[in-house]
């Protein structure tokens, strides 16, 4: 014992000393440096309380298993985005264009996540807490690839990189499985699939290059029947007549379609090649301007629509 006690003390001292020397380089709670649209930001520890001001950022957080303390237009998210559902506990902080700064301040966030046009009020947000701003939608980059980058970056910030990689692996596996289902339907020569959302009975938004829908199509090994040049949000407003260009392809429209009867009964619609050939299907409501994982929800919607079409033919 007499030998042991000093030895223990010496060992303990050595450990403490070692920790003291090593500590600044490798603390228990790691310092983290992340990059946003404006440059790099260093956090002493992974933030715990996060406020998210756009819906694609909310989606990223929820997919990472993080419940944001504050969400802008939570009511709108629950109505229009729906998947993935935001767990209870998140607080509404007002509209996305003009959130309530005082409500955000009350939540005492460790970090505020903002994106795109919200750059306009980042200086005001910064008086409350550190802000990370992401440019999610831009005609200058590939929205889908960038959304994965942002997803990983936010995961790194919150020390959830393993969760993110697992989720992205799941996503890729799910997309591969969906692609198999498409192949089972059409073999190696699938028709073109054009994804649209009707604005009213005479006009339609056609999703094209740089939209999340077109990323989903690409993952499924499909191409669109109408080329829409790259743009920020990835769609173009066209008259319904222009859909005639789809020819032998399939048309998938995103629900809800409020004036369905008005549209589906017009002579013009009835004359469309995809209507005559029975190649038109409705797709369950899905948010077309989401984050990385939204591609999976969109791809599921598209494949389900295509399968229902094939089932109807049999």
């Amino acid at each position: 014992m007499r030998v042991l006690l000093p030895a223990l003390i010496a060992a303990a001292t050595a450990v403490v000393a070692a920790v003291a020397v090593v500590a600044p380089a490798a603390p228990a709670r790691a310092e983290v440096t992340v990059t946003d649209s404006r440059g790099s930001h260093t956090f002493a520890a992974p933030p715990q309380r996060v406020v998210a001001l756009t819906w694609s950022l909310v989606e990223h957080l929820v997919e990472l298993g993080v419940t944001p303390v504050g969400v802008a237009d939570l009511e709108g998210y629950n109505t229009w985005v729906v998947h993935p559902p935001v767990p209870a506990g998140a607080v509404e902080v007002g509209l996305r264009q003009e959130p309530s700064l005082e409500r955000i301040a009350e939540l005492e966030p460790d970090v505020i996540l903002a994106s795109d046009d919200q750059i306009a009020f980042v200086p005001q947000l910064e008086t409350i807490a550190p802000v990370l701003h992401y440019t999610a939608f831009s005609s200058e980059h590939d929205n889908e690839a960038v959304s994965r980058q942002h997803f990983r970056e936010i995961a790194r910030l919150l020390d959830r990189e393993a969760v993110a990689e697992a989720r992205l692996a799941d996503l890729d596996a799910a997309l591969a499985a969906l692609r198999q289902r498409v192949q089972a339907l059409y073999g190696d020569t699938p028709p073109t699939v054009t994804v649209v959302r009707f604005a009213d009975e005479a006009r339609v938004r056609v999703y094209g290059d740089n939209s999340m829908s077109s990323a989903a199509l690409k993952a499924l090994g499909l191409t669109s029947g109408i080329a829409v040049p790259r743009s920020r949000w990835g769609f173009a407003l066209k008259p319904v007549q222009d859909l005639g260009a789809i020819g032998d392809g399939v048309l998938v429209y995103v629900e809800p379609l409020e004036k369905a009867e008005a549209l589906l009964n017009t002579a013009l619609w009835q004359a469309m090649p995809f209507v005559r050939g029975g190649r038109v299907a409705a797709m369950a409501p899905a948010w077309t301007y989401g984050g990385a994982v939204s591609v999976q929800y969109l791809a599921e919607g598209i494949v389900t629509a295509l399968e229902s079409l094939a089932a109807g033919h049999r």
């Binding site: 109505t79 009020f121 949000w233 407003l237």
Partner: protein, 669 residues
């Protein structure tokens, strides 16, 4: 003779339109129409897309031209049209509200909502303008005020329910795209019915040109006839708006062009307006079709109509509207001088309201009162300062413009300064992309200055007739609207940022911007006070001012520039703030400010207090949902203004119609 030329133009435009909307050669198009059935896709898209589009363009244009002609003949006012009477804004607001409150009902019965809104708002504007105003500028300015108010209310609804109304923007932009003959068969009987009523009105309209006594001598009861004619025109306009959306300008331009083409008699004016309206709309729609070939998104016909209409309107202004307007709108006047009690009350309000805005807020546990933490104070004071400076700035600009143009309705938002600044910013965003907040202060100032330059240029040619000044404002506002609608119809979230910005918010102003704006406004107010003698002299009449040794031209130029720059500076920081510049100076007069110095001081304080209160209300009432201060101020101020005008006698407009008719006899004599 000249209307033969018009007919020839029509014969040219129809094939042009048809060959733009369908790839089929004209001969085959004719064959398809002759057969009445279509086989190939190209034939079907022609028979159910291109052909009804051309027909509905002709129908809608004819309806708008006819309605415009009736309204202009009845009111003897060349500036009257759905655009200038608040008709379109009324239909728009009604449909927006219906879409949010009852989406299903709005989808199935949108027609009736739009119709009710259009008729109510136009009726209200006519009633407000009343007997004297209906024949001149006042009805147009009242229409602009009504449009601003209704748009502000619509903005509040749109901002809080953006996804619900997304698809309405296309309707508001006015696109003529058709997918079958449904709307044609709906609109044709309405236009035909309107035509019948108007044909019945032909004789009375002719008789009325002789004056009321002559008409009465021939046994014509004027009042019921006038009511029927106005209602028929409104019905026509509302049906067209319902069928194809908001298409401005045709109703305003067609009758003016008809008179320019030499249509003299009542009947000739009606017929020529009808044909011209149809041709004009068909031609602008052909332009929209052509432009759509080069753009990613379709170009709405309403937007191209405005793009064509604005220059034509300005040209008409130069050509025809030389005469000064002799029917100024009189607002009620109040006390003869400002009482001590008023000064004291205002001083208290000027201290108490900012204090209230700083100390009273809403937290998780409801209302909280008390000196805020440094963090919250840092969030609140820049807003309060910016709101106060913006309100004061608009008030100063309003005082200058109202005194200078001798028109109680002249204010930066109505005569186009705010529109010019906003137009420059929105155009930058639409054309170059990017965010409206990045476009920045210099662009807004440049836009405000450009609007001023147009005003001055036209003003010099027109002797600064209030007519010309107001028309520039209307033209710029319409151009802004069409650009905005193009951006909105296209979709994308930046559109909502633009709407939020156009509503006028203190939200994004930094402390530095707030202080800079406050300094600029203080300087403008001081300059106005220094120049009070100029304003006093000019308000008494320019010959009088010149006789007293004032260099009228340079003084007017300087003062106009001062007012415009102040309004543009405010707009660049907060976005356009409507109504404060209109009602703050007027409330000051009501409280007894007769002299320029008192007018400036009182209006400045009132403007500041009004906007600080609006900002605070927008921040707290629906917490955590925030409404922009400008939208709250427009709703509150606009409501007050309309109530003020209407309060002078709700039936003044109806009674006025009769008296107006007797007035024409005198004018003709």
């Amino acid at each position: 003779m000249r209307w033969l030329l018009v007919l020839a133009a029509a014969l040219l435009v129809v094939p042009m339109h048809l060959s733009l909307s369908s790839p089929l050669p004209l001969a085959e198009q004719a064959a398809v129409l002759w057969r009445g059935s279509a086989e190939t896709l190209a034939e079907v898209t022609f028979l159910h897309g291109g052909a009804p589009r051309a027909v509905i363009a002709l129908l809608a244009g004819a309806g708008l031209g006819l309605a415009g002609s009736v309204m202009q003949q009845v009111t003897r006012n060349p500036l009257v049209s759905p655009l200038t009477l608040g008709t379109s804004a009324g239909a728009w607001l009604a449909l927006v509200i219906a879409s949010v409150a009852a989406p299903a009902l709005a989808a199935s019965h949108g027609v009736w909502f739009a119709m009710t809104g259009a008729i109510l708002s136009t009726g209200l504007v006519l009633a407000i303008a009343g007997r004297q105003g209906i024949g001149g500028l006042p009805v147009v300015l009242a229409g602009m005020a009504m449009t601003l108010l209704l748009q502000a209310v619509a903005t509040v609804v749109v901002l809080t329910h953006d996804q619900y109304v997304r698809n309405l923007f296309i309707w508001q932009a006015g696109d003529l795209g058709q997918t079958d003959w449904r709307w044609v068969t709906w609109l044709a009987p309405q236009v035909a019915a309107g035509l019948v009523v108007v044909v019945l009105c032909k004789r009375p309209l002719t008789l009325m040109r002789l004056g009321a006594e002559a008409a009465a001598a021939r046994g014509l009861a004027l009042i019921p006839f006038l009511l029927v004619a106005v209602l028929a025109a409104l019905w026509l306009t509302a049906s067209v708006i319902t069928a194809v959306g908001v298409i401005a300008f045709i109703g305003l331009l067609a009758p003016n062009l008809a008179r320019l083409c030499g249509a003299r008699s009542a009947a000739a004016e009606l017929v020529t307006s009808l044909i011209l309206g149809a041709v004009l709309l068909l031609a602008t729609d052909a332009l929209a079709l052509y432009a759509s070939r080069f753009t990613r998104d379709l170009v709405p016909s309403g937007a191209s109509a405005a793009l064509v209409g604005v220059p034509v309107l300005l040209w008409l202004t130069l050509r025809r509207l030389r005469a000064a307007d002799h029917a100024p709108l009189s607002l009620p006047v109040g006390a003869l001088r400002v009482s001590r009690l008023t000064w004291a009350a205002l001083a208290v309000a000027a201290v108490a309201l900012p204090l209230l805005a700083l100390t009273v807020g809403r937290g998780p546990a409801g209302w909280s009162i008390g000196w805020p933490s440094d963090l919250v104070l840092g969030l609140r004071w820049p807003r309060v300062l910016t709101a106060a400076a913006a309100g004061a700035g608009m008030a100063v600009a309003g005082v200058i413009l109202q005194r200078l143009l001798r028109n109680p309705l002249a204010s930066p938002d109505i005569i186009g300064i705010s529109s010019g600044a906003s137009l420059a910013l929105v155009a930058t965003v639409v054309v170059l992309g990017g965010s409206i907040h990045e476009a920045g202060v210099p662009v807004a100032l440049l836009g405000g200055l450009a609007a001023l330059a147009v005003l001055l240029l036209l003003g010099r040619r027109q002797g600064h007739a209030p007519n010309a000044v107001a028309l520039v404002g209307i033209a710029l506002a319409a151009l802004l609207d069409s650009l905005l609608q193009f951006a909105l119809a296209r979709g994308g979230d930046e559109a909502y940022m633009i709407i939020g910005w156009l509503a006028g918010s203190t939200f994004r102003a930094s402390a530095g911007q707030g202080m800079a704006l406050a300094a600029a406004v203080a300087a403008a107010a001081a300059a106005t006070l220094l120049a009070h003698r100029w304003l006093t002299l000019m308000a008494a009449g320019e010959p009088f001012a010149a006789a007293r040794g004032l260099a009228v031209g340079p003084a007017r130029m300087l003062l106009l520039a001062l007012g415009a720059m102040t309004a543009a500076a405010v707009t660049s920081v907060t976005g356009p703030i409507a109504f404060v510049g209109l009602i703050a100076p007027h409330m000051a007069v009501l409280l007894g400010a007769r002299k320029v110095a008192a007018h400036v001081v009182l209006a400045t304080v009132l403007g500041a207090v009004l906007l600080v209160a609006s900002d605070w209300l927008g921040r707290t009432v629906f917490h955590p949902v925030q409404l922009p201060a400008g939208a709250v101020a427009a709703v509150v101020g606009g409501g007050y203004f309309i109530a003020l005008l209407a309060g002078q006698g709700p039936l003044r407009g109806l009674r006025g119609l009769g008296r107006m008719a007797s007035g024409w006899g005198n004018r003709a004599a």
